[in-house]
Each structure stands twice: as structure tokens, then as C-alpha cells.
Symmetry: none
Subunit: 417 residues, 2 copies
Amino acid sequence: MKAEIIAVGNEILQGFTLDTNSNFLAKRLTELSFSVEKITVIQDKRQDIIQALDSSIGHCDLILMTGGLGPTSDDITKEVLAEYFGGQLVENKDVLSDIEKLISSRNLLMNEKNQKQALVPDNCIVVRNKNGTAPAMIFNKNNTYLVSMPGVPFEMKEFFENDILLFIKENINLTPILVKVINVFGIAESVLAEKLTDFEKNLPENIVIAYLPAPEGIRLKLTGKGSNFDDLNTGLDKLAQNLKMIISDNFVGFDDDTIEIVPGKLLKEKKLTVSTAESCTGGLIAHKITSQSGSSEYFKGSIVSYSNEAKINILGVNPRTLEEFGAVSKQTVEEMATGAIRLFKTDYAVAVSGIAGPTGGTETKPVGTTWIAVASKNKVESFEFHFGKLRDINIRRAAANALFKLLNVVKSEIDRN
Amino acid sequence: MKAEIIAVGNEILQGFTLDTNSNFLAKRLTELSFSVEKITVIQDKRQDIIQALDSSIGHCDLILMTGGLGPTSDDITKEVLAEYFGGQLVENKDVLSDIEKLISSRNLLMNEKNQKQALVPDNCIVVRNKNGTAPAMIFNKNNTYLVSMPGVPFEMKEFFENDILLFIKENINLTPILVKVINVFGIAESVLAEKLTDFEKNLPENIVIAYLPAPEGIRLKLTGKGSNFDDLNTGLDKLAQNLKMIISDNFVGFDDDTIEIVPGKLLKEKKLTVSTAESCTGGLIAHKITSQSGSSEYFKGSIVSYSNEAKINILGVNPRTLEEFGAVSKQTVEEMATGAIRLFKTDYAVAVSGIAGPTGGTETKPVGTTWIAVASKNKVESFEFHFGKLRDINIRRAAANALFKLLNVVKSEIDRN
């Protein structure tokens, strides 16, 4: 099955907005076994939209289109689609009532522009928007389905994962395709690739492997296609287990179990708790943990101690430790971790202190130098890292490594008991 | 002048790789006054490459093409380009020597694949690669220049910023273009659009406006084209100042001065300090603030109090307040804010407590209910919000609104003094 993606938006063509929508849709369509043949980004211009439709309708099974559906005058996609597929705009009572509810919940008054958003083509399936004002629309012509969705990323994702996915599964005949992800942490991509040389050589023809590296670790993605779903599933599972063995200590989890999820899951399962004491990560570890619903069961809180006074007054770090060894040191980060345990009364605490850059580096402690400590009730361990020069990447790497060290310490204590 | 971008690569179409190259080139081309008419991502297939070229050559002044130039057998772009423009591949001694040097510097031996990379079309300008093995190539046909560059982001950027930029400036006659961004917060897109109806009607023909909404506010973008750079600059500045007046209290800043930047800038300028006490935002406000280099001058720290015990023991919230009014209440969030001021000894503190969801909502306090307090030394103000149902968006909206409220309180206290 072939698919294409069309994004409408001058902001993308001007480089103002990174087109993450097309990336998201390309990934999801590939997972569904579509071959994505083309991504096109075009302007909010009648002629350009028509030309894009002409070159795609009838040449693929599905077109996903994003953007161009806002309330402002530069958004003309809905009008052009109605015309292209030979329909007219009519007021939709359900959509109107959705918009009225949304507007009144924000304590606003309906205006002409909101009213206009309730006009929809009379020749499409209208899908109501639970998170915004513009509905999605599904058209069909020459055996091609065209789905038009708003360009606001979270509205688009909600549409896709719910109504549109269901529609695709019910209306387009897809070959079974399965994806299994193995999350890996703490190993360089080239070293991992070398470790997996034999594994890759012996992969069956219907399964491909891809490496997706990020500061939060490497995601190894196995994608398999086949006619029998159960065989494919069993085969992929076997390979994934095999990979887990080879990767050994650097294995984090399967699929959605990334380094941001796994420590929390383990703590929850074992009814253990954690807190954090953060300097250079500035709250990012706490933010990553609390992004998970239900995290309040195992996460009690964080002290972001961005000043020495906060380290001393709140976390109880000894002023002499700071004076003698500095804020970025084994001694300070260990006292930060034990301070957090004392304050939050948690089973574990993880602390980070480092020089994120671009300023603050010295000869002996260059930008990127980072200390991470993990404390449990009777013990504290610490680890030194040397990251790079980029502030945002250093912060992300520090947060991810802190979670990985936390995971290892918790795991080894559980194994010991 | 019109430009188009073509990216070649299955990894983008499968969603493995986010196409940051096209975003970079779109931004740079727009800055150079090109109108970027289209971005197309295609597979490494002869027929697809030819079709993309057919639909673009002769229709624009410049095509920038990335990817498809690697050493592996699936990279066929160079062969297809040579053929399309009517040339043949010949060995280039300079390119061969560049490759030999690079390979030996990595302690590797030349192989057949490296040797093949020294073959270049005999009908193009060859631009040598200082950072990798594949050279860039410049072709011309029907008044369209086509530049083909490797897809490795840093190699591509180096090519563009040096040789290609120079070539464009020398060979294509460009008109000045300028962009001005006005950052707006706390107003719905439709309400803003209504407020700006007259402004939009009276915009000169050479200037266009675009709305870019996100949980962190709306970015209004003015793009102007003209023959005289100074006139254009003055004109855009006047319009931006005009917009600032119309937008009034919802104006945050120009260009890069977003809601995540402006409060910190103001605090730094006035030598004031801030701390945060975060419940549902879980450290995100602190993370946003500390993402800015130099933030330690005005940011002292945060207490992420995810449990009631932490609110009581660390922030000093009265247990009776929690019992009587609950954690998500005016009273609790105000005590959190004053607690943070006391602990961190800052001039201001901002506190947030809310129900991010998806669980935890009640009849009287549904998911999305959020309280934000801003405390200064002698005063505390608080505000109630009702966001939506999506956890991550609720967290982002709460963090952005907290920063906006902080900004307003600081501004009004400065105005009063």
C-alpha cells in the first residue's frame, strides 16, 4: 500500500517551523506497512494545492494532509478541497456546537471567524475535533483516500491516533508489519554496531534493523513484514530476546520502555520511592519523571539547587565541601543526594552537578564535566562524566545518564536482596 | 526569486530521520529573499528523482538537493543527475586525492566504494568536500541552478555556508527580505485575529503576516520584501511597534524574546531573583529557565513538591490548608509561593499546583484545573486556569502561563516604583 504526505504551510517553507508532523506521520505509516512514496510541503496557494493533489490522487492509496485549516484568512485548504472534490461548504451543527463549547469554556465569545470554522464540505466524512476548533475531513477519489487534518501537532496526533487510525484499518487492506524496539543506553553507536555484526549478518530477509541514536540512548528498531502475523511476532520476539542478551548491561527495555520510563516502572513495582537534587539539569530529571501519569506513587519531589546557598541551606551540603572541592565534585554531588533522601524521606535519590556551558568551564573542569550520585538509605555512589560543548545536549545527556545510574543501582540492590 | 528543496532519502520517508536539512535550507533561503515554493522528499529511485526534477527545472531559479550521495549501492542520485543533465561520470583527481587523505587520516584503507566517490559528472561545477567524501555538484538547465549536496547535516551546512552561498550571491540577483516576529501570550488565536482585522487590511502589499500558535503562545510573523533594505527595515519596525500597541497586555517580546526568555531578561536587567515551587509542572518551569545560559544570575532554584509531605515539610505549607482546601487550591499555591521565597531568599517566587491528568480529576476540580501564584516579598497573587485533557499539553500550558504571570507581576511592580 502506498501513501503520500502533504503539508500545507508557509511557515515550514520559510524554515520557521520544523515539520515534525510529516516525520510523525511517516513513522506511523511505515509502522502500518505503508510505503511512504513522497512528502511534499507546499504554500497556502490554491494553484499549489491543486497541483499537489493532481500529482498524487490516483497514484497512491492514502494521502495524509496537514495544515491550512486555521481560522485566519490565509488558510484556504478547506475551500480548495471542497472545490477539488466537487462539493460545497455547508454549516455542520455538531462542529458548530463543538466550537461553541470550546470557546465558552475559554470564557470567550464566538466571532465570525469561529463561525466560519463550522463550515465543512458536503462531500466528505467530517471528524470532530476534541482539542481544537478545526475538524478533520476524509475524501475519496480514484481509489485514493485523502485525510485533511489541522497542522497544530497535538491536535493532529490526537486525530491520527484515534479516528484516522481506525478509519485506515477499517478501509485499507494492510499487510502485517511488526516493529520491535530495543532501547539501549551507555554505549557508542559504532561500538554497538560492531557488537551486532554477526547478528545483522544472520537476520532473515523480511526483517530490517535500524539504529536511532539520541542523547537519551540508542533505539534499535527491528521491522518485520510477513503474511502470517503470529509467525512474524514469534520471530521478532526471539530476535529481540537475542539482542537483549548480546547488549547485556546496556539493555534498558523494549518498545516504549525507554530510560525515562523504566526506572519509574521498577520503583512502582517494588513500591520504592525516589527524589532528585539537581543543579545543571535544572529540573529536567524531575520533569522527565513527572511526564508519566501516576509518577506521584514513586516520585516525591526535587530540589533544584541552582545556587550554592540553596545547596547549603536546603540540601544541607557542608559549606566547607563547596569551598574545598567546588560545586561540581564527587563530594558535593554525594552530599546533595543524601540531602535529598533526608528531605524527601525516599528510598533513593539521584543528584547531578555539572558545567552545562557554554561558560563556567575551567582548565581542570572543562564545559561538559558532570558528576552524578545515586544514594540509597545506607550508601551513596557517584560517577564522573565528560560530555561535549553544547548546553542543551549536555543537560539532556546528564538527565538521561542520571536515570540510567539510578536504574542500575536499584536493580543491583534488588538482585542482592 | 523562487527556490525549491528536494531531499532524497528513504530514512526520512520512513520517519527514522527528522528532515532538519530542509528546515535549515528553507530558513537560510528565506533570509536570502528567496520564496521557497516547495519542499519534496523522495525515495532513492531513478524514476522518482527524474519526476521531481521534471516538475521543478525551469519553474524556479534554484533547487537545493540533499542526500543520495553516499558510497553504498542504494545511493544513485549522482548517476541520475549526470544522465538527466546529459553528461558522463569521469574520475576527478582533486576529489580522489581529498578522499585518499580523509581515509588515511582515519587509519583506513581505500576500497572500491571510496574510489567510486571520486567519479563526478563532466557537466557540472564540482565543489570539493572538506568534511567528508562526497563532493557537491552544481548544474544548470533552463535557467534553473541545481545544487546537489550530501545529506549528512554538518557536511551540508558547511557546503551551504561557504561555497554554495558565495555561488548563489554571485550568480542570482536577490531582493532584500526581512522578518520580524512579535511574540504574544494569553489570547486565543481567533480573538487575536479579530483584533488585527484592520491591521491586516491595511498591510502594504509587500508585507505578509502569519500566525504560529503553540502552548507557549502565538508567534506573529511579519515578512517583508522590497528593493531598499533600509526602507523595509523602518517599515517593518513601525508595523511591529503598531502591533505591540494593539496587542497591549498580551505582548511578550520581539523575535527570539519568547515567554521562556523575557521574564529572565527582565529579572537580570533589574538584578532581581526568582525561585519556583512546582507541583504539576514537575520541574518544567525550572528547566525552561535554566535552559538559558547565564540563568544562575537570577534563578536560585526550585522545590518540586510532588507529595503533600514535601509541601508541608520543605515548603512549609500548613497541613490544615491542604486538608481544608486540597493541594490544588488558591490557599495551597499561595503558601507554596511564599515558602519558596523564604527558602531561596529570592525577590519573587512562582508556584503551580494543578491536575495534569489523565487521572486525579473530580467533579469540582476536573483534569486541567490549575492554580498559579506569584509571590513577591510582601504580596502574593494567584490565578485559576482550566486547561484541557492532555497531560503533556496541560503541563506545558501551566509552565508557560506561570512565566507569563511572573512577567506581569514583575513588570507592574517595576512600573509602580
